[in-house]
């Protein structure tokens, strides 16, 4: 299938973009940074086309559905969303260097999907034959992507804050590339401000769907519960800003832990725990 080849090309674009961003980090050459962004955008455009194509291909073989129904497809969509959110932040705030901490997530996701996950287009089980699937997956994954960006920014914050505390803020050093901690803190907050409502919507559409499909909007299934755990962590993050002693480092850590929980909710639950969302499992 053509779409599978396109996804391979996308992976290469994201890899080149990541390498450029690392190069930018080391060389501080603005052109290299710009190349990183352009490669990311090119890969993104290609991936958008490939996702559309895969959608069409599923109709061609007679089982037409949106490309968001199994683990492989969701990992692709996660990569796509991450690049989208990064792209928006890049355009809006012009701190290109963030790419060095965000594009690796997209690259990792693409490489994993392309190398290890079965890429077949499968028909949908009766439980998944619903438009709610689409709304649910899109909102959740855009939220996850925003949290990935927030996590990347938080890592930068911690590195920068540490080097500032040590006082080796030598002009021209690697750290001078990083935005000031104040800006990183703000970007972290902004990314979560985008991610939190999306996650909330994701949980709500999931609940609405569950209610429609089997009459219970909440059944404390492990996947549901983990999404709520993620939600609690980010709610704690949002309130941390109003509480003395919880800003700065602790907020950055909450954001990183939040993303760890997000990844567990997304993958760990399927691999290590059992639940209703069996469609995401590896086998």
């Amino acid at each position: 299938m053509l779409s599978a080849k396109l996804f391979n090309a996308v992976t290469i674009f994201y890899m080149l973009s990541t390498i450029s961003f690392f190069g930018y980090l080391a060389s501080r050459n603005k052109t290299v940074g710009l190349a990183g962004s352009l490669l990311a955008w090119l890969g993104f455009a290609l991936q958008t086309a490939a996702l559309g194509l895969r959608w069409k291909e599923s109709y061609d073989i007679g089982i037409g559905h949106a490309p968001m129904s199994n683990l492989y497809e969701s990992v692709l969509f996660f990569a796509w969303s991450t690049v989208l959110i990064f792209g928006i932040i890049d355009l809006k705030y012009k701190y290109r260097i963030i790419g060095a901490f965000v594009m690796p997530f997209a690259l990792l996701a693409m490489a994993w999907a392309q190398l290890y996950l079965p890429a077949d287009i499968n028909p949908l089980l009766p439980a998944l034959q619903s438009n709610w699937l689409l709304y649910h997956v899109i909102t959740c994954f855009l939220g996850y992507a925003a949290f990935a960006v927030a996590c990347g920014v938080s890592v930068m914050y911690l590195i920068k804050a540490k080097s500032e505390a040590k006082g080796n803020e030598a002009a021209g050093g690697l750290m001078s590339q990083f935005p000031p901690t104040r800006v990183l803190d703000d970007l972290n907050y902004k990314a979560i401000m985008v991610g939190f409502p999306l996650l909330t919507l994701g949980i709500i559409t999931g609940a609405a769907w569950a209610n429609y499909a089997w009459g219970t909007y909440w059944s404390w299934d492990p996947k549901e519960t983990w999404s709520l755990i993620v939600w609690f962590i980010y709610a704690a993050f949002l309130h941390a800003r109003f509480t003395k002693g919880w800003v700065g480092n602790r907020a950055a850590w909450l954001s990183i832990i939040g993303f760890g929980a997000t990844i567990f909710c997304y993958l760990g639950v399927n691999i290590l725990l059992s639940g209703l969302h069996s469609y995401g499992s590896l086998n």
């Binding site: 089982i63 034959q129 619903s130 709500i204 009459g215 404390w220």
Partner: protein
Amino acid sequence: MSTNQRSFPGQIWDFFCSLKLTIFLLITLAITSIIGTIIPQYPNIDERYWATISAARRAFYDKLGFFDMYHSWWFLALLAIFSINLISCSIKRLPHVLKFVTEPAKTISETQQKIFPGKEFKLHGSVDDSRDRLTEFLASKFAAPVITKDGSHYHLFAQKNAWCRLGVYVVHFSILVIFAGAIIGNIWGYKGFVTLVEGQTINSVKARNNKDIPLGFEVKCDQFKVSFYDAPGGGSSQMPKEFKSILTLTENGKEIPGYKYVRVIVNDPLSYKGITFYQSSYGPANDPTTFYFTVRGRDNGKTEQLAIRPGIQSKLPDGRTVTIVDLTDNPGEGQVAVLALSDHGKEPKFFRVFKNNPTLDEMRGDNLIFNFTGTDARMYTGLQVNKDPGVWVVWIGCIMMCVGLCIAFFMSHKRVWIVVQHGYARIYGNASKNQPAFQTQFEALTEELQKQNI
């Protein structure tokens, strides 16, 4: 905190109003919730699980409510404290915010003048004249200002979207609304289950606690059907495509318009009088006791009906006998009967007859052509039956939460002050959210103002 002077009730009040408690509760809820995702929860505990843990551990977990932790006393207590925290915090802060929104400070304080971005510019006309022109300017470019005289100078104050300061409270209130919806559902609703064999009618369902609940109307299952996806190589695969129950509802035996032969499939339930039926499971209701065939003579074309029961020899029109040996039901070929045909004591001949496929049997070459038309076996359909009068309250809470979050995060309360004095004026601005965007807007406003040459 110097709470030494506070009275004891005062201290308790402060405790419940504190945001540190909020963070503690959110993190505690997050951590404790993990337990129920690792330890199996009622009612979905596999019997084999008990063998994997020691009796002492089982007793210990039982005591802590770990096998139903989301309904355990301590988890519910955490949620109760969470609600109290939310309510106390709102009671403490909301009046201030409401006052802030409805009676804003119309003059800008010394401190605010130091921290808010501002700009000074010269005035050419008299104070009164400038004041009027500035008022006009603000009204056309930002929002109509309120004018306050303060000694020799004037404060012009204009604001936009003051009400969006309430967004956070909408979010917080929505959580209580969702809790209320869940409680309503728990008290006045129920979850039940019913299995219906094709042709059967019921008027009550079994609730989780095994009590029978009357529905107030009757439900009949007319038919149940499963269909499978086509396998890649033709035929049908093992993968179910659709389970479908056809139901008819009646009230005191009378038909209800629009509720005759209603299709219920997964993701498309049926609701009547607040009670909803969801397609949940299915299976065979009984083993077949009779197999139906038609037999056609190749020579004379005569067709006869035949009912065969297992273990009993049935006579055929030509005097031979037939017995049923086996019934298989493989996806891809459907139901297949295996028959043994005996001709007066000779070795019986075995052959397979596919359901509703007489042409296939024609190829066998025998004078009698069999068509397998079915059995008396029935399917049953398993329906989840729910009544939840609180669900709408929950959805209203969810919508409030989304709207509140958008207001809290993406809208901002913008304020602009102009202090007019003899000869010069100073303009200040402040926004509750997204400072950089406001900064740009504020700078554009000041530039515009300077061009006016007031």
